[in-house]
Amino acid sequence: MPEQSVGIVTPQSHHFAQPIELACGRSLMQYDLVYETYGKLNSDCSNAILICHALSGHHHAAGYHHENETKPGWWNSYIGPGKPIDSDQFYIVSVNNIGGCHGSTGPKSINPETGTPWQNDFPLLRCRDWVNTQRELMKVLGIQQWAAVIGGSLGGMQAMRWALEYPDEVRHCVVIASALKLSAQNIAFNEVARQSISSDPNFHSGYYMSHNVIPKQGLRLARMIGHITYLSEDGMGQKFGRELKTGNFSLGNDEVVEFEVESYLRYQGDVFSGSFDANTYILMTKALDFFDLAREYNDDPVEAFSNATCSFLVVSFTSDWRFSPERSREIVDALVAARKPVSYAEIEADFGHDAFLISNERYEKVFRAYMQRVAGETV
């Protein structure tokens, strides 16, 4: 286990017996949230940080679940002792959202009313449903106000929603590689991913668990499409070029030729489709598509942000074309017009949307500098 890690972490779970009303009008009568925490809550509970995960994320953001785990949590580069989100200074809470497939109540969970898994009958969720359930966990943990709510991509949308829904409970909002709403192109990519899942013969209209099958091929394809859009052309070129995994192009050779990039995508698709739930994927992409921060504020992001009382850090990455710097600038410009404190950095990076997860010297410096400001306000 490398140094500068939070070390071995054990996920915790909390059962919520009180019903929660969802944005779609339906209610969850009871639900579980699985979460991890890193660091210690200080005596006046002023150093708590909430990490909101993205589309395919979960609660395991940092450290290792056991000694032999080869890969640490998904944001291990940025969470840990001495890292930008410093576990020596902050009490960091990372939740698996409802609708997920890593332990929190979701389509795979048993619907208490029927005694069978929800599957495709799980209520459609919106970003605010995640914020509201995260807030229930916040109360359980005895936290009155987050020092910061932090998220990348779909996680950034949750962080912004927090700032508007519960302004008194957020001191800082860190929005990374995110957007006020998705573009048509973005929704289009999500729809292709959903179609590839629903057209898998094993999908059975989302009730595949009842048939004891999983739409693995569809999910695999969905992930491969998604993965291409999370990288950039330059990033892929750097990482794979035209290198061959097998075979060669010498004349008279009919060996199977496979490019590295093909092999990589297949591998990513295989890993993902073996561990992720198809209904969750559909549900998460829909929540992403539906999100529009300013919808209920006359479609005016300035009016929306005028409700916020926290300070903001917004970060984007030059090669990210799914959540481009222009989308982040829309957030920043609205914040400036709403006279909210905001800092913004556009980080030079080759790895597209995925850059928000990857080590990068400048990103780390900016992030660290901002988090030190947050830490300076805690006791």
Binding site: S311, L313, R329, V332, D333, V336, A337, R339, P341, V342, S343, Y344, A345, E346, R362, K365, V366, A369, Y370, Q372, R373, G376
Partner: protein, 196 residues
């Protein structure tokens, strides 16, 4: 701190909303916050300066001034400041117009190319002036649009810009009598307070 920056707070009222274009390491914003309790935002393009500003607890937005200020709303700031950046811009006149749209008042400082030492350097040596203040060669300088006190005033005149106040910083880094009498000859740095 550069003397032109020390003059600026006098022209800014307390608690004003201030946009500092090309805010550098944020020293002016820090001074304005300390002395005038302003609500300040810096615009900067240099990554190290951006980190420094965040370190100091300032609000700073990464932005290239050559792209204009179109994303900033009309009259959204009380004062827009631009210290020692005018000469680096591709279209200084357009940026000044934009500053006057975004802010009710503006403060601009720039190196005066008609200072006697520049004139002497060019006249005697026939070469572009290189000094402690402008330590670049003509081919690698970021300063691509030098002007003089007179040039700037002509620009204001042509564009209907009101000069509310002006001064120059002279050689000894202060406002001197010589600078007051003949700003275009003795001013190293010109400081203008302007509005529509």
């Amino acid at each position: 701190m550069r003397f032109d920056l020390q003059l600026i707070p006098d022209w800014i009222r307390s608690k004003a909303r201030v946009l500092d274009l090309g805010c550098g390491d944020g020293s002016l914003l820090c001074k304005l916050i300390a002395e005038k309790n302003v609500d300040g935002l810096g615009i900067e393009i240099d990554e190290d300066h951006i980190t420094e500003c965040i370190d100091k607890g300032l609000n700073v937005v990464e932005h290239d001034l050559n792209q204009g200020l179109a994303t900033f709303r009309e009259n959204s700031f009380d004062v827009v400041v631009m210290a020692h950046a005018l000469q680096t811009l591709r279209d200084p006149h357009l940026v000044i117009n934009e500053m006057l749209r975004v802010g009710r008042e503006c403060i601009v400082t720039f190196p005066n190319f008609a200072h006697w030492r520049c004139r002497w350097h060019l006249g005697q040596q026939g070469r572009m002036p290189v000094s402690k203040f402008m330590p670049y060669n003509w081919y690698d300088t970021p300063n691509i649009h030098f002007c003089t006190v007179k040039d700037f005033e002509a620009l204001c005149e042509d564009n209907g810009i009101r000069i509310l106040a002006s001064t120059v910083v002279a050689d000894d880094s202060s406002e001197s009598t010589m600078g007051r009498l003949m700003p275009n000859l003795f001013g190293v740095t010109a400081v203008y307070h302007i509005s529509r």
